[in-house]
Symmetry: D2
Subunit: 136 residues, 4 copies
Amino acid sequence: MPTRSTLRVRYAETDQMGVVYYANYFVWCEIGRVEYFRQLGYDYKQMEFADDCHLPVVEANCRYRSPARYDDEVIVETRVTAMRSHLLKFGYRLLRKTPEGEQVLAEAETTHVTVDKNMQTRKLPQRYAEAIRATL
Amino acid sequence: MPTRSTLRVRYAETDQMGVVYYANYFVWCEIGRVEYFRQLGYDYKQMEFADDCHLPVVEANCRYRSPARYDDEVIVETRVTAMRSHLLKFGYRLLRKTPEGEQVLAEAETTHVTVDKNMQTRKLPQRYAEAIRATL
Amino acid sequence: MPTRSTLRVRYAETDQMGVVYYANYFVWCEIGRVEYFRQLGYDYKQMEFADDCHLPVVEANCRYRSPARYDDEVIVETRVTAMRSHLLKFGYRLLRKTPEGEQVLAEAETTHVTVDKNMQTRKLPQRYAEAIRATL
Amino acid sequence: MPTRSTLRVRYAETDQMGVVYYANYFVWCEIGRVEYFRQLGYDYKQMEFADDCHLPVVEANCRYRSPARYDDEVIVETRVTAMRSHLLKFGYRLLRKTPEGEQVLAEAETTHVTVDKNMQTRKLPQRYAEAIRATL
């Protein structure tokens, strides 16, 4: 089951076309990733500070289906789609809540490497790897 | 030949990992697109206001090679890689200027549909299409 | 009583100093304003689209007391501090939730004029003005 | 004489009112600050990394005179308006280039304390202080 997190579109996130600027969907994906770890029982902040494990993005992709608009309630569905020793892949569905149900706004993927604070690759700490593996 | 535009990394574009936040590369791609039209002799602002032709993104992809850092001088190379009646594809290379030459930061693509202000698809106005075709 | 809305600091909102970039506090104030209207029973989106009343900022001020950090839970307290025919002033307190209570991050004010979509000043529609007056 | 730096308004910086979102003016002020140091012969990046001197903002204020729009050429005029041992004040004028001359978009001030990387106040290094004093 994917993690679901909810946010409301900010005025700052719109552009003069009257819809959400396309780069901001990637900010929402990051919110989904953080929630993913939180619902797994972990804290991404702790992963960075206590475990010196960071997840820079090496590839990001988004397919936009329907424009998000100011004040929309957006659900970010997040799941891990692949895990290897130094690599983690997330898949996302961004949905708009409507009175009739949920409408797909976009689908996205991000690929991450696991590095230390000096940007050297390192293994994902064991306990995160195990918790994620249980979801696959 | 791709269009080349230059920018300097802003403090606001960095995150606590000490590098540029990944979504901001897509903002730089947009700067490249605008410059692409400007060097073709056109003004994207005019395309929107005078010609009622907008270019929302339907797909965006970026592969990150090397992290950009605060105050880096970044070159955005932009070219159109495909054009069909209602669709335009751009390819980008993001480079960092260094004393030794240019280093690849990222490669990206964006796919756009041509729509009017009501988000209905429409053809790219003839003169833009011709100018772009001449570059392919 | 001020309106209270809660948000969580996004990775995208931090900078390389490891704290929230100063301009983002103004984005949070905007979230507080929207919540203010929602708790009054109104929808800022409706005010813009149905009533053609927009609230561009003419002055903004923020005093930063303590840096907000990634993943902090932030409370935005918002109240209207002054209202005249074409002018609205909001005051904000930004607080961090901690196990020990709430810590002041910043205090801010924004002053707005009421305009139509052509940026011409107009009166705040009667029902908004009355609802706000009742809070003063 | 103030430092003058030029930028072009990005699509990402606009909002659905069709003008630049108010928080972004503070990002432009930061660009002005960096240019200020560069034209003094210093590099803000060096100040942070080599000299462990950071300039977090303790107060920020902006008065908006005229809305900036997409693709506008904006000039940021920056000067230091006050300096004390642990405190630096900058004043800004944001101007739009037009065929007829320059139009004031906004006036802003930011107040900064000088701190080390642990956010403890420290003196502005001597050579920066001297260079700045010469401009006052």
